[in-house]
Amino acid sequence: MSQSLMKAGSLEVDRKVEAALDFGRAWDYAPAPEATDHVKIEPRYGLFIGGRWVSPRSGKYFPTISPSTEQVLAEVAEANAQDVDDAVKAAREAYEKYWSKLRPADRAKYIFRIARAIQEKSRELAIVESMDGGKPIKESRDVDIPLAAAHFFYHAGWADKLDYAFQGRKVRPLGVAGQIIPWNFPLLMAAWKIAPALACGNTVVLKPAETTPLTALMLAKIIEEAELPPGVVNIVTGAGETGAAVANHPDVNKVAFTGSTEVGKRIQRALAGTTKRLTLELGGKAANIVFADAPLDQAVEGIVNGIYFNQGHVCCAGSRLLVEESVHDIVVRKLRDRMQTLRLGDPLDKNTDVGAINSKMQLEKIRELVAAGEAEGAERFSAPVKIPEKGFWFPPTFFTGASQSCRIAREEIFGPVLTVMTFRTPEEAIEKANNTMYGLSAGIWTDKGAKIFHLATKLKAGVIWGNTYNKFDPSSPFGGYKESGFGREGGRQGLAAYLEVE
């Protein structure tokens, strides 16, 4: 930490010299924190199994903290293998007794209810999301929560239209889905997993991430209040062991996992020799390619959004910036200038651009990789932000002069750290962009439509953003190539993950 503070401190001085525009104190906003007095967080949460809130058989609870204040927000139950077994049994019984017998049109209505309730509770959900996960309120308010509601709303409509989705082929649900989700978009990932599973007629056991369980538990409350048949959705909280119990349970028909490539491979191996279906949404190291003919100011906005959105805790983050050599200096200059204006701090403040790093563990990982970048000789720039005393923080940072073999150019950092590299020809850009084991996403910035289409077909990635970045929609399939996983979420194509299609 001291090292990064020093670095940031010295850059504070540089700022006056280097910034093209000196705003003086014009960017010092008065605090505008979101009120939290109306938010209901229970002191202690049980597990949501079979429609009831139950205490864990382990008898153990763990605290979930706010990464921006390090204060304990609530205690959450730690589900052990027995608890997971209860949840899977409940899901199986609910599948056989209720969910598979329900008219598809009625199934749809239950899912619509969930969507509506998320919209009604959106303010509360957004605040809790920012408290528990550290992301800026403007992101949880404008992206996470509305998209979560949209996912339920979109998939609800599919429930009675599945025969149209795969014309000429018969479909049927898989049964019980075991789902394990990460901490970067806690409620949104729960929606991505639960909504299509339910719409396709499956029942669910979901394990939220241990650092961000609260909004998933609030979603359980919403599901309870929407009066879904008991056991259709079960939420078991816990860490890696709980997740392993979900994936390895013999009566689970499908495993859906979003998280690191390392854990994804472990799950894939664990499922070998079983008949369980699997979809994986894993890591990324996306190339964001900027051509000299791009609208550069717009591109800089896209670069900032691509890597600093959600503190870079985004699997599809544009973490490798490939700039055409002739505009490298201009782009880097503009990027530096733009980064002067980024505000890091209280996630609940409506002016905050960059929130807290999700956990101490993640902060350490980011620091380790940044140190590796420095050791390997890349030149570091960090935005001149003031780091709050409490909590986990990392200033928006980029490296220039890195080679393709550097760790910061190859490994997923999952933090607000960008690696800038250059290219001369479109072929070189394609070559460099594809030179990774990952293949989740990519960005292309150019004024030439033909160039976008050419690159879009050559880049080995599941989502390509042309002159934009980090856009998501429930109607739009999302998922990776290569070691970024397999299967899609969203759109008609995403339904296949939860159906047996003949």
Binding site: R169, A272, V463, T468, S476, P477, R488
Partner: protein, 333 residues
């Protein structure tokens, strides 16, 4: 060296004690009208027919016409034929060929791929008698052999017609809530490893390889060990069908030996394996996780299912080795 050793052992094993009653020479048919030219069977890699780099071989016995058969035996091969026993290095060479063929195969228009697959059906039809004969020789009854070959040809026609249609069935324009033009298209995954079922040795291979290449992938297929000869014969059909070299590569050998290097190879992105051996299926799935391969393993279907037009072919067969790529662009002035 290995070859010599095996021969010596066999000779010793078959050795008979000599007695006064034994003729010095084995019986010999002097009525043979012509000495036939026997074919050296080779694997099909990068559009060429090659022996195993290892120099190893295994043997398959053919069912020759029975003594009382009236039909003239048109099979030029001796009863025992040598088949290359592929090695780990052969797998690597084939994967490299398949990888290098990817770009060219993907670049062809769907219409062109369609025509090449149709050309394959034409060549298979013209060599129908030969394919039937090869199956019969491997032990398939005459009627069943004819049925299998005809179904295989029809399957090639089926996929030929699908090459320029699956795209519009699987692609979509997505009505996103915002000023963006967003569409999703199917794309080939890359190099796919195919482990064909032991039986049906021809229809099984045709039914697994063709959907993979119809989708724009290239493949390395491991042929049936029971009847590798028919697979090689089919490779000759491919070789004369305008299919670019390296798009389909056919290896012969033992699954236990060749599956692990195929499953572990990092340039192979998907595997379609039809194996009875549950342990081997599991091993492929485990090894495949090293690079998050899309591994599909199956317990082989019975012959009726392979012949069935609902069960043995379809859009789903193409779809399982396609990726979905989603492209976004803002709309506005």
């Amino acid at each position: 060296m290995a070859e010599k050793k095996v021969r010596t052992e066999t000779a010793t094993a078959d050795a008979l004690p000599r007695s006064a009653e034994t003729a010095l020479l084995k019986p010999w048919d002097t009525q043979k009208p012509r000495v036939s030219v026997a074919k050296a069977y080779k694997m099909f890699v990068n559009g060429a027919f090659v022996r195993s780099e290892s120099g190893r071989y295994f043997q398959v016995k053919g069912q020759k016409e029975k003594d009382d058969a009236v039909v003239v035996d048109v099979d030029p091969d001796p009863e025992t034929v040598n088949i290359p026993r592929g090695s780990r290095k052969d797998v690597r060479d084939a994967v490299l060929a398949a990888k290098n063929a990817l770009g060219g195969w993907q670049k062809r228009t769907a219409f062109n791929r369609s025509q090449i697959l149709y050309r394959l059906a034409e060549v298979m039809e013209s060599r129908k008698a030969e394919l039937v004969q090869s199956l019969v020789r491997s032990g398939v009854p005459d009627v069943a052999a004819v049925r299998e070959v005809e179904a295989s040809i029809d399957r090639a026609v089926f996929y030929a017609g699908f090459a320029d249609k699956y795209f519009s069935l699987l692609a979509s324009q997505n009505p996103v809530a915002g000023p963006h033009f967003t569409f999703s298209i199917p794309e080939p995954m890359g190099v796919i490893g195919v482990v064909a079922p032991e039986r049906p040795s021809l229809l099984g291979l045709v039914s697994t390889v063709l959907p993979v290449v119809t989708g724009g992938n290239t493949c390395v297929a491991l042929a049936s060990t029971t009847d590798p000869r028919t697979a090689i014969l089919w490779s000759e059909c491919i070789a004369t069908s305008d299919m670019p070299g390296g798009v389909v590569n056919v290896l012969t050998g033992f699954p236990k030996e060749l599956c692990p290097p195929l499953a572990k190879h990092r340039e192979v992105i998907g595997i379609d394996a039809w194996l009875v051996d549950a342990d081997l299926r599991k091993a492929i799935e485990t090894d495949g996780a090293d690079n998050v391969k899309r591994v599909k393993t199956h317990v082989p279907m019975d012959i009726e299912a392979w012949l069935d037009e609902r069960k043995g072919q379809g859009l789903g067969w193409i779809e399982r080795f396609l990726e979905t790529k989603t492209v976004w662009h803002p709309v506005g002035v």
